[in-house]
């Protein structure tokens, strides 16, 4: 990575180095961004006029994406097929959140469960997941919808 100039001196060629660094920076930014969002574009949210912009300060969140078949999609895993799988997943998530809260000196986790269900999904799986969330111990919920102009 060095060029010999006309006067016989050597100067480093920074262009490939910069390329590589920028590629790496972009890769890590994108990975961090998608992992933090945990959202999927496969879910078509319903429309609602009373939906309000989400609070950007809420960082302790768990996204539950339900596809049109009512299956719970979790980042980096296959969709959860049975209710017992959902139950196990939610309990393990709650236990993780509770351990983190206890380490931070809090009694209960302040994790907000954000439910992003597809507009064509049946109400039954949504209700069952709400019920299992509550059974697992979560106490804060949000439903997500696309903001509809009045």
């Amino acid at each position: 990575m060095a060029q010999v100039s006309n006067d016989g001196g050597c100067e480093p060629n920074l262009i490939p180095l910069l390329d590589l660094v920028l590629q790496l920076v972009m890769f890590f930014i994108m990975v961090a961004n998608f992992a933090a969002q945990q959202v999927t574009s496969d879910v078509m949210l319903p429309l609602a006029t009373s939906a309000r912009p989400p609070d950007p300060g809420e960082t302790d969140v768990i996204y539950l994406n339900l596809n049109s078949e009512g299956k719970l999609m979790v980042t980096g895993r296959e969709p959860l097929q049975t209710l017992s799988e959902v139950k196990y997943f939610l309990i393990s998530e709650y236990n993780t959140a509770k351990r983190a809260a206890e380490q931070a000196g809090e009694k209960e986790p302040k994790t907000v469960v954000i439910i992003r269900a597809d507009k064509n999904a049946d109400f039954k799986p949504v209700y069952e997941i709400l019920k299992e969330c509550k059974g697992a111990g979560f106490r804060k919920w949000q439903l997500r919808a696309t903001v509809k102009n009045k």
């Binding site: 100039s5 006309n6 006067d7 001196g9 100067e11 920074l14 262009i15 910069l18 390329d19 920028l22 590629q23 920076v25 972009m26 930014i29 994108m30 961004n33 969002q37 959202v39 574009s41 949210l45 319903p46 429309l47 609602a48 006029t49 009373s50 939906a51 309000r52 912009p53 989400p54 609070d55 339900l66 954000i114 269900a117 597809d118 507009k119 064509n120 999904a121 049946d122 109400f123 039954k124 949504v126 209700y127 709400l130 019920k131 299992e132 509550k134 059974g135 106490r139 919920w141 949000q142 439903l143 997500r144 919808a145 696309t146 903001v147």
Partner: protein, 178 residues
């Protein structure tokens, strides 16, 4: 950057603008923003949604069960009004899952409403009435096969009419079959 040394004079440095890395960076940034831009995420909003507080105690033995206390997984609020949403079961995919009937249940009886607009007006009228002591909570009782979008439509109507907290009853068709 080039260095020229002319005879015994001072070292002359010639600066050239190197555009290539800047262009590289610009394209990288452009590519990043194109990939991460999501108009649907920008339009995404949260819905006010509350569930009742859990029971004070969980039964650790059968004899500890107190039937007077709400179950810990109960999603219903102590509301005076319940909106029952029924759906069609015709086998026609274009019809099934949509709202076929809207009924508001209260202590006064049941009131059938033709559409969401009528529901919103009815609930708004109820909120203004003096007879309703709990003007914050309302329950939704939707059939299990109803599309989630229809539930959100009804929830939207409830919130717009003045109620601040919406809870869910178990789907009536599930409680009767189970």
């Amino acid at each position: 950057m080039k260095k020229k040394h002319k005879g015994e004079g001072p070292l002359e440095v010639q600066l050239n603008t190197v555009i290539t890395p800047m262009l590289d960076m610009t394209f990288q940034l452009l590519f990043f923003f194109v990939l991460t831009y999501s108009p649907s995420a920008a339009m995404e909003g949260k819905m006010d949604f509350n569930l009742p507080a859990s029971g004070d105690y969980r039964a650790r033995a059968p004899e500890d069960v107190n039937l007077d206390k709400p179950s810990d997984t109960d999603l219903a609020l102590p509301a005076q009004l319940t909106v029952l949403i029924k759906t069609a079961h015709t086998g026609d995919k274009s019809v099934d899952g949509n709202i076929s009937a809207l009924v508001v249940k209260s202590t006064d009886g049941e009131t059938a409403l033709p559409n969401l607009e009528a529901l919103e007006n009815f609930l708004r009228h109820k909120v203004k009435e003096e007879g309703l002591s709990n003007k914050d909570d309302i329950k939704i009782e939707a059939e299990s096969k109803l599309k989630y979008a229809c539930v959100i439509d009804v929830m939207d109507a409830c919130l717009k009419s003045g109620f601040t907290r919406v809870g869910f009853n178990p789907p009536p068709d599930l409680t009767t079959t189970n």
